[in-house]
């Protein structure tokens, strides 16, 4: 059991570490800027007041306090790079889960082994769990150490909450990728649709947030994971990770049914 998960996790480890290094660079830059921005006396409150209200709320700007490192990181790093960009990354990876194996004609050799298609899919999908842990550990530590270096302290518990809750969020994004990868044989298209889904849903959430159509925003997974809120208030609504996990299960289940019935044509 888990041979495929372990294999898949190890397979692109270098790439994942490379991405982590880029993110560490980004976090360092943002943390490094914080003291000078604080010193400059720039009024964030004024800046926020000048933002369109919908945008301000979408970014969580209405609740965050930018003069704190938590609020600053929440706005500059967690609400966009951590959530939307990495969410899109997981959807992108998920988009090649099956389609990539079919397109490269690798799937036959593995599926001729004694395992069901469902096990194959689930094991491959589960390889995103250690991926998510890897990013969290590396970036969580970087944020903590980085803040320490500029004489700021972030509560490690708060940080752990934010990071831990990214896991159900990213897995839901991966599941979207996975379902596209089953229904669309062409890897590039499956990835594009999956990534597009995350971005478009996020944009819909952003632009409808204060409108009568705000219910549309609930389609977006980003609606259920708001690091900025957690960082600013320390509060967690446990219903959110639960919704994300349920969504993941449902999407994976649909993928499994479709994959079991699919003609695998390489």
């Amino acid at each position: 059991m888990f041979e495929i998960t372990i294999f898949d996790f190890k397979k692109n480890l270098k790439g994942k570490i490379g991405l982590s290094v880029i993110l560490i660079g980004l976090v360092s830059l943002i943390i490094g800027l914080f003291p000078s921005i604080q010193e400059s006396g720039f009024s964030f409150e004024e800046y926020i007041q000048n933002l369109p209200p919908a945008l301000a709320e979408a970014f969580g700007a209405t609740i965050a306090n930018y003069s704190t490192i938590e609020g600053f990181l929440g706005m500059e790093f967690y609400s966009w790079f951590w959530t939307v960009a990495l969410g899109a990354y997981f959807a992108y990876k998920g988009g090649s889960l099956i389609s990539g194996e079919i397109e490269t004609k690798r799937i036959d050799l593995v599926l001729s082994s004694p395992l069901t298609r469902s096990r194959y899919f689930v094991e491959k999908f589960l390889s995103y769990v250690p991926d998510a842990f890897l990013f969290n550990i590396i970036l969580g530590l970087s944020v903590y150490v980085g803040s320490f270096l500029i004489n700021e302290t972030i509560s490690p518990i708060l940080l752990a909450k934010v990071h831990f809750l990214s896991i159900p969020f990213w897995l839901a994004c991966s599941a979207i990728g996975g379902v596209f990868s089953v229904f669309i044989d062409e890897e590039r298209r499956a990835k594009l649709f999956a990534t597009g889904f995350i971005f478009i849903a996020y944009i819909i959430e952003t632009i409808t947030v204060q409108s009568d159509f705000s219910f549309l925003g609930k389609m977006s997974f980003t609606h259920y994971y708001k690091p900025i809120t957690i960082l600013s208030t320390g509060e967690i609504d446990l219903i959110n990770p639960l919704i994300l996990s349920m969504a993941t299960l449902v999407i994976v289940f649909i993928s499994l049914i479709a994959f079991e019935k699919k003609d695998i044509q390489t």
């Binding site: 041979e3 397979k11 490269t104 082994s113 004694p114 395992l115 695998i264």
Partner: protein, 289 residues
């Protein structure tokens, strides 16, 4: 016991016929050649038998297990090796890592023995492998868990003649030890070296199943003779000789070699070629509609 048994097997892609009404019965002790031109339905048949494609109608049993049942298919696959016509590996891992992976999934009691036969640069990344080395790696993974049945889709593509010979030897040896082989090809001369029986498929339908010796006997040799003078056609109306075309003279010979040579010796022969029948000839002479 039958290792593969299909009954009225149909595979359609919408309205397009992949295979139709396929009845195959492959025995555990044989090497079965599955012959057909490109696009005849060989790969579709193999993929349907192995459960990659869902049949439209009919049934498939692999080693006595019903392929349409997920659990039974997994059970059957424990004892099946497969070499697809086209496949690839993860390029960024070494051959050894690839084989480790397959071993974890299905076992590898014969792995070392096979590596000795088909030496490959085990510690080199697969992206640096030649086509022949990749093919060898494919062959090793198909046989490494000592399966009862190995399905090979055009296995000798990309192997040099020396390697082909080694491969044929291995197939014969494995078969002696009790592995049934199902082997698809579009090259008759390749199949005849190793197979006991052949099935011929054309346009998605099985035309015939024959013992290879009978088929070779029936299909005979092809002679192409160029003579200075015109050869009298009536003289060639002999038992075992079939005239295909006059200019140049093309004949299928299954018997009566002496008579033919006697006749031809009366003419000035400018060029003569005698070769074994290939699949195209067999189709042309026996199965052309």
């Amino acid at each position: 016991m039958e290792v593969i048994k299909t009954k009225n097997l149909d595979k359609f892609y919408g309205d397009i016929k992949g295979v139709k009404d396929l009845d195959l019965s492959i025995r555990s002790e044989e090497i079965f050649g599955f012959l057909g031109p490109n696009g005849a339905g060989k790969t579709t048949t193999i993929r349907t038998i192995l459960g990659f494609l869902k049949s439209t109608k009919g049934s498939v049993e692999l080693l006595g297990k019903d392929v349409s049942n997920r659990k039974e298919l997994v059970k059957a696959k424990e004892e099946i090796g497969f070499l697809p016509g086209e496949y690839s590996f993860y390029e960024n891992i070494t051959g050894r890592e690839a084989l480790d992976y397959f071993e974890k999934l299905k076992g590898g009691e014969k792995r070392d023995e096979l590596i000795k036969t088909f030496s490959i640069p085990l510690d080199e990344k697969i992206k640096n492998y030649s086509h022949g080395n990749k093919q060898k790696l494919g062959i090793i993974q198909a046989f490494m868990h000592n399966p009862k049945l190995v399905v090979l889709d055009e296995p000798t593509q990309g192997l040099d003649p020396l390697m082909q010979k080694k491969f044929n030897q291995m197939i014969l040896e494995e078969n002696k030890k009790g592995t049934a082989i199902f082997f698809s090809s579009h090259i008759l001369s390749e199949v005849r070296k190793v197979c006991d029986r052949v099935g011929i498929i054309k346009n998605g339908e099985l035309i015939t199943i024959e013992d290879i010796d009978d088929l070779m006997q029936k299909s005979g040799k092809i002679a192409i003779v160029e003579t200075k003078e015109d050869v009298d056609r009536q003289q060639l109306d002999l038992e075992g000789i079939n005239l295909l075309s006059q200019n140049p003279l093309k004949l299928v010979i299954t018997d009566g070699f002496n008579e033919l040579i006697n006749i031809l010796s009366k003419y000035t022969i400018e060029d003569i070629t005698i070769r074994e029948s290939n699949l195209e000839d067999v189709f042309m002479h026996f199965y052309e509609e």
